[in-house]
Symmetry: C2
Subunit: 708 residues, 2 copies
């Protein structure tokens, strides 16, 4: 298990979440003011550690002894919460350093989010803290919480009347406002919290730090994350690796998917947003559930608190409404869950109990269940014992609004939960809060909307399958010995680009440049007819438009004549062009056009794109991405991810394509790109032809652009 092996220093974050003592620098005696709220919150929530208000003007604040300075406390202070106006923050940070504080949260705003001066001040704070080993959260953040210890170091106003319920959800939010909203949403939904942190301007501690800390924390069942931009991609990757190593589910919302969205995200934060498609691929690689809506974020996080992650995607459904049964079945198909039918014998037996029941799966007990609650136990048991589904979903409409009915059902619900404690048991139910809580206490997850319940189950199953996959990632392949280096500012014509890539182990079509018609004929004969002939000149971009490409050249004679034709056409169309000669290559027939591309992402560096060629890319944007470098396993995953994979597998009468050759080329390209990350701008292998199984794959055209 990774501990402090990487760039994240997890141990030093401890003081933000489990401090033995907290000082509030700039404490206010008004419990509704920003400097008063953290104290009031910790009082309400019953924090038992040392709590030291610092304010030179009062001997006591909110009934607690106050201190004129940090130095006057004379006790070790693990964490300081700084709430003073922005111009005084640097002084407070220095005080923290001087008095050996481990962690400082700067709630004060007025830094990089405001202007250049604020940004400089913030940088100074970062440098001071780094030099002294003080960890800083913020500035312009809403602080941290630990719901179990009552350590509520935030000025979020949502807490004034009621503290958080303690539970297994830890929340990391880059945005304070969003973090506060999540806190209140969790409370309103009745979800229990563990740790909570908001990072604000992230001068030191950033989202990835908190994610990693929470992922390693044993009391955290699930990390609910919200991020806007990525500061240090290495930290993010490390944090995701920690979560994966600890098999801790992460449910993440990252905003900025659409164009307008991205513009808003950038005006809102200082950090770069990065290419969303790349980020998305990264999350998939690390089995993170990316939520598109707040509802989904909470639905899935809540689901994880059941701590049951099915490794098989079979779902058994019971319903009191045939129609809702179908809705759930449709949702299951959408979500990739299977609904295998109950065994025939079971179906016959159940049919005897309720003659007009639907008994396949969904098991439609009909509204009869509401008239005869004694049906619940045998029906549910049949599903779980004879159906053997790892997960079961039961739609009981508004049964939870009827306390009398629920009381009658209670023994059955208890019995089932006890007997099948290894299964994921989910109810779709309209219920009063106290009914829901008692069902949750038995181990049931409760959702109002049946489709949302299905999608939550599917998310748990994806986690379960990912956690069960213990295969170690394949290492990226090596570059061949003597592969030439790439330097910024180099430029390549098509032929040079292909030679460079070939030397790096990427298969390219064999080709020859001829500078006389006799040489052209010889080369063509050697390559084997038919061949393609193209004019080669760095000055001619669009060869086809000037007639600079000849296809299907079938004989020596044609090749000789072709050379003359191409040279004449090029001279006529572009008299000043320097002509390097004529390229001769075998004419590749058949195979499937794909594209392999590399782009330098501002956040993640070289990123490899794969997709099927032509219209697939242009019309359907059927492409996928990975951060370079990667191994064969990831390359195969990319190939399987595109919809056009059906063609590679052999749809439409094609023979299965040489997917292994393709995967090797992808991995090799990723390694080459990563090796030359600093010099490389982009690579474009298009078309990259994948031939039938065993026949390999070839880049027919290649473009390599270096950074200027």
């Amino acid at each position: 298990m990774p501990r402090n092996s990487g760039v994240i220093d997890l141990e030093s974050l401890e003081a933000f979440f489990r401090p033995n003592s907290v000082a509030i620098i700039g404490a206010s005696s008004d419990a509704t003011k920003i400097g008063g709220r953290p104290i009031n919150n910790m009082k309400i929530a019953g924090y038992r550690g040392g709590l030291y208000p610092v304010n030179p003007n009062y001997p006591e604040i909110q009934g607690i002894k106050a201190y004129p300075t940090l130095g006057a406390i004379k006790q070790p202070v693990d964490m300081a919460v700084i709430v003073v106006p922005a111009p005084l923050v640097v002084k407070s940070v220095q005080d923290c350093i001087d008095h050996g504080v481990k962690a400082a949260i700067i709630l004060s705003s007025g830094f990089a989010e405001i202007d250049e001066k604020g940004a400089r001040e913030q940088t100074l704070i970062g440098e001071m803290a780094a030099a002294a080993g003080l960890r800083v959260m913020g500035p312009n953040c809403m602080g941290t919480m630990n719901a179990r210890t009552g350590m509520i170091a935030t000025f979020s106003s949502g807490l004034i009347d009621r503290g958080p319920q303690s539970g297994g959800i830890s929340i990391a939010s880059q945005s304070g406002a969003f973090g506060a909203h999540c806190f209140i949403l969790a409370r309103e939904r009745g979800y229990g919290l563990n740790l909570w942190a908001t990072m604000g301007n992230q001068v030191d501690v950033e989202f990835a730090d908190c994610l990693a800390f929470m992922a390693r924390d044993p009391a955290t069942d699930v990390v609910l994350g919200y991020m806007e931009g990525i500061r240090d991609p290495r930290k993010l990757v490390e944090a995701l690796a920690v979560a994966k190593a600890y098999k801790k589910p992460v449910v993440l919302m990252k905003v900025g998917k659409s164009d307008v969205g991205s513009a808003a995200a950038q005006s809102h934060t200082a950090s770069l947003t990065g290419s969303d498609a790349v980020f998305d691929a990264l999350l998939r690689q690390y089995d993170v559930h990316r939520a598109a809506t707040i509802d989904e974020l909470f639905d899935v996080a809540y689901a994880c608190t059941a701590k049951k992650f099915p490794t098989e995607k079979q779902l058994g459904i019971i319903t009191v409404s045939g129609g809702v049964g179908v809705i759930m079945a449709d949702a299951a198909a959408d979500a990739g869950l299977d609904l295998p039918p109950l065994p025939e014998a079971t179906q016959r037996r159940l049919k005897k109990m309720v003659p007009f029941a639907g008994t396949r799966n969904p098991l439609d007990v009909t509204a009869q269940l509401l008239n005869d609650t004694s049906l619940m136990q045998p029906m549910f048991e049949a599903l779980l014992t004879e159906g053997g589904y790892p997960a079961a979903l039961c739609f009981v409409a508004s049964l939870g609004l009827n306390p009398m009915m629920m009381e009658r059902l209670q023994p059955a619900m208890e019995g089932i939960a006890r007997k099948y404690s290894d299964r994921l048991l989910v109810l779709s139910i309209l219920a009063r809060p106290e009914v829901r809580q008692s069902l949750e206490a038995l181990g049931y997850l409760c959702y109002e909307d049946p489709s949302r319940a299905v999608h939550a189950i599917a998310a748990l199953t994806r986690f379960g399958q990912a956690f069960a996959d213990t295969r170690v990632a394949k290492p990226p392949p090596r570059l061949p010995r003597g592969a030439p280096a790439l330097h910024a500012g180099q430029s390549f014509n098509e032929v040079d680009a292909k030679r460079l890539l070939a030397a790096a182990g990427i298969p390219v079509v064999e080709e020859v440049i001829a500078t006389t018609s006799a040489a052209a004929a010889r080369a063509a004969a050697k390559l084997g007819f038919p061949v393609v002939m193209k004019i080669v000149s760095a000055d001619i971009q669009h060869k086809s438009e000037i007639g600079g490409v000849l296809l299907n050249v079938a004989s020596r004679k044609e090749a000789e004549a072709g050379f003359t034709t191409l040279m004449r056409r090029a001279k006529k169309a572009t008299p000043k062009a320097t002509l390097d000669g004529v390229l001769i290559a075998p004419m590749i027939k058949g195979g499937i056009e794909t594209i392999i591309g590399v782009q330098r992402d501002p956040v993640f560096g070289p990123v490899v794109m794969f997709g099927l060629g032509g219209i697939f890319v242009e019309v359907f944007k059927d492409v996928t991405f990975r951060i370079a470098p990667f191994g064969l396993d990831v390359a195969h995953a990319m190939i399987r991810e595109v919809k056009g994979y059906a063609l590679l597998k052999g749809a439409r009468g094609h023979k299965p394509a040489d997917v292994n050759a393709l995967a090797r080329a992808l991995a090799q390209t990723s390694v080459f790109a990563a090796k030359h990350a600093d010099a490389l701008e982009s690579i474009d292998l298009n078309p990259f032809i994948v031939r039938a199984k065993g026949e390999g794959a070839l880049a027919v055209d290649a473009l390599v652009i270096t950074r200027p």
Copy 2:
């Protein structure tokens, strides 16, 4: 406006929803029993019409005078609710007929949903009623309601304690259990209802009848529908036309999308499910919002009660959280809404009010709005006046949980709602129910989840744009005079199929059958080289496999030789085949491969499919459907609907394709298919080549299969 012009008799349905008097046949004095509940419900809800319990054993039921028989009532009875056991239902129906009852609801179950005997009984009831002009709802249904009049003719148990709140949502549900669930969901969400109906086994009145009735009802703002199968497609189409004519929004859930789903739907109802893709196309054609989840069904129906349907897709957003601003912007992009920025001058002015605000759109006022509620009015006004957006969405987090804050905001919210009563005003807010109600009373729609709010706004905008489109549908084109008839049991080889279609006005490639090599050469020369040559034989299905196709035949000499080659190959491969000769056709180069297909749908009859050819169909299933026949407008809509339309428009360096020729062919095919609906099984024009603009389109291969 269509009234009773079609197959739906709207006037006779009146008695189900606004009866002046109701008799309960099989009334029970136990208010919790199925025969007692309707009476109890109507008492609670304050129904003021005549209420006549019928039961020979009691002089009084639930405090109301009871009658031994229907005949004993001696007053006109508009509607009878039949709750007697199944074997007694026929007798009760006869009583209704004998005493001039207009409408009978049969709540009793035990008919087609149970067994063959029940089905026969049900058929008998239907025949009796039809002969006598009695309208019947059910059997095996949950009845009807009118929330305004307190006419609650149902045994749904959800009503026992509290009646429905009256409002603008009318609910039509084929399934009783689902209808009851909807009723309770609406009540729990605080949504007001108008009419409610469940059709059960639909022996007479079916889903489409109720949909049409509600759509024409002025007190109905929106019809929320739930259906499982389609009995009479003509009725459904007519009901949809009524809703469209009255510009009444319809939000519909039809289950049975997935394979498993369809199986469940069929076991649950007797009616056919039909092809879901066809049904989907039909709903799009009639501007119905099809909901995939119950949440969506209710979100959109509720939105319609604001009765504001923007005709432009611009949205202005205010937020107290930059992050949620981005989430809403992402959702808007997903939902097809635009977020044009505020004018520069406005942005500068707002920036002065809140220096760190994001002022484009979303307008991110930041949590500052929560500290300074006086910002709400000027910010909101700037958005609506200077931004001029037809719809505005304001995210205020959990503000609605804080009564003090809401009180302070009240004047601003009132002022804005009054001044901008023409705009769609939506809040995303966590609020106590009473806060939400007071905001709704001012005219705001309130959603908890911001993404769901955006999607509801998008749905209203789609309705608005559809309602604003007053273009009359184009009539289907005519078939050419003398187009030959099609008969069941006919069979066609490729050549005959093309001739048939050509005579129906569908463009096909010109071709000639030659029976000698000399004739082949003459025909080829006449058509112009190069040509394609194919063996013609009803006995040879796969021509290519036996080498029965020659491409690029370039001269008379090649054509002569080609004839001989093809005849020899065919004889060798299939010695017993009858060879009709060799088909000669010009070789069509370029253009874009599309597919036009016709399939006979069990519910809707001939249905036309359109899509781009090859991999588009096979890998991406990028096709669309319409029920035949249709005009050029619908044909153009189909063409625009497929993703591959980008190619037809001229992507990837193609010239724009002759979309008009394609549309003509689609419409013409639909007319031909509709004309021969009884004889036709399927048509397959594949490939149907669409050439450059002005150059037309042609079926290269054609297959016509008739019903046996």
